[in-house]
Symmetry: C2
Subunit: 107 residues, 2 copies
């Protein structure tokens, strides 16, 4: 059976855009909802605004999410949606990572 140590090079192929913990947290949340507001995302991830803002911008530049700017009454609200590309990247990441973990219950 294939063990992770059989092909450690695969580890280096992980998509760093997804692998970075802050962004993985963001994508994980986005994957579970249609659209997520900035402040909600901030609260559930525990990121501060600056980091959330800049990581979101990187994910957007990578095409993994899109930003929706709107107003609720007169106050501005920014929300995010994961794109199909982002969802695919996250799925691929999950696959790769799963392949890399040893089977449950190994010594």
């Amino acid at each position: 059976m294939a063990k992770p140590e059989d092909n450690p090079k695969a580890i280096l192929d992980l998509d760093r855009m997804v692998h970075e913990p802050a962004r993985l947290a963001i994508l994980t949340v986005l994957a579970s909802a249609k659209e997520v507001a900035f402040l909600f995302l901030q609260r559930v991830t525990g990121l501060n605004k600056g980091n959330l803002s800049s990581h979101a911008q990187k994910l957007e530049a990578a095409g993994y999410l899109e930003t929706v700017k709107a107003f609720q009454g007169r106050i501005p609200v920014t929300s995010f949606r994961i794109t199909e590309e982002g969802r695919a990247a996250l799925r691929l990441y999950h696959h790769q990572m799963r392949a890399l973990l040893p089977k449950e219950g190994k010594p």
Copy 2:
């Protein structure tokens, strides 16, 4: 049942010393053997010497591996072993990461 998106903050608790792909590759290989030579490690991970050297030094500083310097005939050979601390950190990482992945075969 607990889904990863229930607690995205946990993602930020991943041990970055282990999480970084080059180091994860190194630890993964070390975990499967008693002692591993520098050049062998370089070949199986695909890292260049510089990066392998510096990542190994970081892992050593973190207490996750130890370096063994020896001679084979008259040429110097550097080898590494994972420490118990390193093994524990890797196991913890596996646990955390597994908890974070969605169940296999989800839409």
